[in-house]
Structures are given as C-alpha cells and as structure tokens.
C-alpha cells in the first residue's frame, strides 16, 4: 500500500496549480480546498471543494452553482454519491484508481473538471457520455430488497 501523501505536499501543489485558491489545512488531519474553475472554453464556471479528513477519505463537491441544473425529465445528477450534496463519484473505490498517496491536482481535480464538461453535455442531451460504471446507492439497494421481500 503506497504511502499517504502529506497534507503539506497536497497544500503546496494546490497552491502552485491554483494561485489564489482557498486552502485550509489542520496539520495532517484535515484539509479543505475551494476554487472556481472553467473546464472548457465554452463551459460555465464552477466552484469545487475538496474536503479530506484523515481515515475518512477525500470528498469532492460542486458548491456552486447549487443546485446544478438537471437534464430535462431527470430528478438526479449522474455519477454522484448524493444529488443534494453534489458530491461527485470520480473513481472506482477499489483503492487502485485513487488512494491517499495520489496528489489531488493530478487526480481528483482533473477528474472533477472532466465530470463538469460531461455534466454540461448530460444537462443538454440527457445522456452521460463520460464513461464509467453504475452503482446503486444504499437507498436503492434497500428498495430492491424490500421489493423482493414483498413478492
């Protein structure tokens, strides 16, 4: 298992890539990064937030706009852990695609930018063209179980 990247290093690279961004680090226990990006020349601007807590993993959020516009006829965002929280699903959580040894600026942030471009295309077409795997949320799994029981 690769060694966890120090939060000092994460902060350093964040500030180097995104001068003027807001970084709040609490020792080696917690770090929060907020910055507004524009993922493509024709795209809108979005404020991203990364929040990492030691042993609890890193979460990526779109904090602005909130709520993000949904595609016509849809009630949920694609590839998110939570639509109300706008918490993005950017990788398969097997520890290999992403883990704490990796720098946010080389992984989570580029992936979030890519997510945003495909989000815009989804908002217009109703179709996610950005690849990926589907998973069910806990709530959906529970619903299915209930349906089986009720049969």
């Amino acid at each position: 298992m690769a060694k966890r990247a120090s939060l000092i290093l994460q902060e350093g690279t964040l500030k180097s890539y995104f001068p003027g961004c807001s970084v709040n680090r609490k020792g080696e226990n917690e770090i929060t990064w907020v910055h507004t990006i524009t993922p493509s020349p024709l795209s809108g601007s979005y404020t991203l937030k990364i929040h990492y807590v030691k042993n609890k993993g890193a979460n990526v959020y779109v904090v602005n706009p909130k709520p993000l516009l949904l595609a016509s006829g849809k009630t949920k965002l694609p590839h998110v852990y939570s639509t109300p929280e706008q918490k993005l699903c950017l990788y398969f959580p097997d520890g290999k695609e992403w883990n704490t040894s990796m720098l946010y600026v080389q992984t989570l942030i580029p992936w979030a930018c890519e997510w945003l471009v495909h989000y815009e295309i989804w908002a217009g077409t109703g179709n996610w063209r950005g690849g990926g795997i589907e998973h069910e949320t806990k709530a959906e799994k529970q619903e299915e179980k209930q349906t089986e029981i009720n049969k």
Binding site: F92, T107, W115, W128
Partner: protein, 406 residues
C-alpha cells in the same frame, strides 16, 4: 470575448454537427456503386451508345461535397448523373440525345422497371429498396460552340467541359442547332469551386494519408474543407427557416456567393461569419434584356451570361427572403457561441438547426472527449482547470462511478 480557444471548441462542435448532416457511409457507398453500375451499362461495349463514347459523372452538391441529407426522415435524396455523349452525330437533335439514353436504360429490365415517367430534363431511376434514393440521369453533349462563347470570358480550365443539355418542353427540342440548346457546365463549376479553396489539394493529400490510399483514389467529393462544411450548415439553416417555401434562398446562390466570399478561413465558425458578412457584397447589378431594366445578378462563374438570381426580378420576395435569411443565420450563430455552458449552447443551436441533429451532435462530441481522455490526450491547465490537449497535468484514466443518467 470570443477567444481562439472558444472558436476552436465551437469548430469541433460544428464538425460533429456537419457529420450528422452528411449522408451515412452506407448511403454514400450505395450511391457510388449504383451510379457506377448505371455508368457501366450505358458505356458497355457493343451497346447502341458505344459509338457516341458516353462519359458518366456525378454533378451538383454530391460532386461539390456540400450535400446534406434531407430534413425529414421520409424524404428522398437524389444523386444527379450526367451522361455526356462525347461523339454524338452532328445531326442529332435534343430529342435524339434524350431518347438514345432513355432507350439504352430501357434495354435493361431492371432499369426499365425503375424508370419514372420522363422528366423535362432527365430520366429518373427510383431505387425501391426502402432507401428513398433517386438517380437523375441527365443526357448531354459537349458544347461545340464553347470556345467561341467563353474563351474571352473565363479561363480554359472552366470552359473546356461546357455542355449542352435537353429540354423536352422547349421549342428547339427538335433542332440540331446547338446554339439553341440549354447550357450546362457542372464540371466547370466544380472546378471553379475547388479553385476558391487554396487548401483543397492539401486536404486530398491529408485524407489519402489517413486512409492509406494513393492520392488518385480520393475523389473530389470526399474532400471536406471549412468552406464546404460552412455551406452544409448554411443550407440546413435555410431548410429549417423556410421549410417547403418556394421562395426560399436557392442552394446554387448560397453556394456561389459563399465560395466568392470565402477567405481561406481554417475554422468553420470564422468561415461562417465571414461568408455571412460578405456574401451580399458579391451580388451585382446588370441590365437585363428580358426584363428591360437593371436587376440583381448572381453571376454563374463559368457562364457570365447566366444569372442564378434571375427569378428575383420576377419574385422580389425571394430577394427579401435571401437578406432576411442572411441576417437570421448570422444572429443565430453569433448568439450560440456567446452562450455559457455546453447545454446552453446546445439549446441555442437546437432552435435554428433542429433538436434531433443537435442532440446527436453533442452526444458524439461527448464521445470524442471521452476518447481523447482515454487515449491520454486530455490535459488540465493550472489556474483555470481548463481541459484541452495542452496543460500542466494529464487527466489520468478513471471510471466515474454511480448511476449514469441520474
């Protein structure tokens, strides 16, 4: 502000749009194999036409690379084929030319079955496999008077292939006096059109390389430059704005003026804006015998005596519509590029170009972005987080997780 980066991304999206307007590969291959088959039959050794040395070639928007699929699903698409009898007898009348080609077609059981009732200018074959494909076969002869008529007006490369065709409703249908037959010059026009695009031959070379073919095997009509793409877009805009209206701007006027206005732009958006801004300035005015007054003139570049805007004098609404269309096309395209967010741009383009094709455009654009990242060519810039082929870090492989479509 419209930066180069914005124009380049918009250009990518427009490329995907024109690909939705193109005939499918199947449709194109079918069209080619069908006209080659007709050509083979007309040119067969020992057929009644052999001694006339027929030449067969496509014409019109198919040849120019500006063809677009029909607007409605159920509509037919046509390919025009010219059958040029290069050694027909001097005494041949228009009728002789027309009938000899028609008779040869009828000698073939299949074509006889597929022939529609004789058209004023051509024979039409209807292919009944549900593909909604029609082929118009236009009998013609070389214009024996072409040198005298054109050598002081246009370059030899443009007049050497000038033709005469037939019109079975004309008073001269039974005349062998060529000076009284209808004039046509599809090869000359196509040659002129190519000459307006400086990168045409270079594009042929690039296409040949990408398909690993010798240059000679890449026909003119496979080449797509920004001018051709712009013309495809303009024609579709016209289709949606006017639908079936008889007074809509005609394609030959759009194509000719656009080619005159084109200034070698590399980017489809730039080509569109420049062409829309400058097309009108290439409309001339000339005194017309027929109308006994000065009228608007869109000169046929290979036959200065022909006015493509001839009908404008009789139907002034057509001139009005042309200018109305120019204004709206420019507004629509400019508005779209100024929107923020791909979904907003999509919405804007849907209004002028139709929901179905534009939705497909953005879906295939999305696919191309995924492909770009998967092949390791997507990078993120520092500062803005902008994704493109250049940037500080490459977007690594990953799989988005979670419900696809929300």
């Amino acid at each position: 502000m419209i930066t180069e980066a914005i124009k380049n991304q918009f250009n990518d999206i427009l490329q995907h749009f024109t690909q939705t307007l193109d005939l499918t590969d199947t449709q194109i291959n079918d069209a080619v194999s069908r006209y080659e088959a007709v050509g083979k039959w007309l040119q067969k050794e020992g057929s009644p036409l052999t001694s006339y040395a027929p030449e067969i070639f496509p014409q019109g928007s198919f040849l120019l690379g500006t063809m677009i699929k029909p607007l409605k699903e159920h509509e037919t698409y046509d390919i025009d084929l010219v059958c040029n009898l290069t050694k027909s007898p001097e005494a041949f009348t228009q009728e002789n030319v027309k009938k000899s080609v028609g008779n040869r077609l009828k000698d073939n059981d299949d074509y006889k079955r597929m022939l529609l009732p004789e058209n004023q200018f051509c024979w039409t074959l209807k292919y009944s496999d549900g593909s909604k494909f029609l082929m118009d076969i236009i009998p013609a002869i070389p214009d024996s008077l072409r040198q005298k008529l054109y050598e002081n007006l246009v370059d030899i490369s443009l007049w050497k292939n000038a033709l005469r065709t037939t019109d079975n409703e004309s008073d001269n249908y039974h005349s062998f006096d060529h000076s009284k037959w209808p004039k046509a010059n599809p090869i000359g026009y196509a040659e002129w059109f190519k000459q307006q695009i400086k990168t045409f031959e270079n594009q042929r070379r690039i296409l040949a390389e990408s398909k690993q073919l010798p240059i000679e095997e890449v026909p003119d009509w496979r080449i797509k430059t920004p001018l051709q793409r712009a013309i495809q877009i303009l024609k579709r805009h016209r289709d949606i704005m006017f639908e079936e209206d008889d007074n809509k701007p005609v394609s030959i006027i759009i194509t000719t003026l656009a080619a005159r206005a084109y200034d070698q732009e590399n980017n489809i958006y730039d080509a569109l804006i420049n062409v829309l801004d400058n097309m009108a300035s290439h409309i001339k005015e000339k005194y017309c015998e027929k109308h006994q007054k000065v009228i608007r003139w869109v000169e046929n570049p290979v036959n200065p005596e022909e006015n493509f805007a001839d009908m404008w004098a009789e139907y002034p609404i057509r001139e009005t519509n042309f200018h109305k269309w120019l204004t709206k096309a420019k507004e629509d395209i400019t508005r779209a590029i100024q929107e923020t967010g791909l979904n907003k741009i999509q919405e804007s383009l849907e209004e002028s170009f139709g929901k179905k094709d534009i939705t497909k455009t953005f879906a295939t654009y999305g696919d191309s972005l995924l492909k770009q990242r998967e092949s390791g060519n997507m990078k993120m810039a520092a500062g803005t987080g902008l994704l493109s082929t250049t940037g500080r870090t490459t977007v690594k492989q990953h799989q988005n997780f979670g419900k696809k479509n929300g």
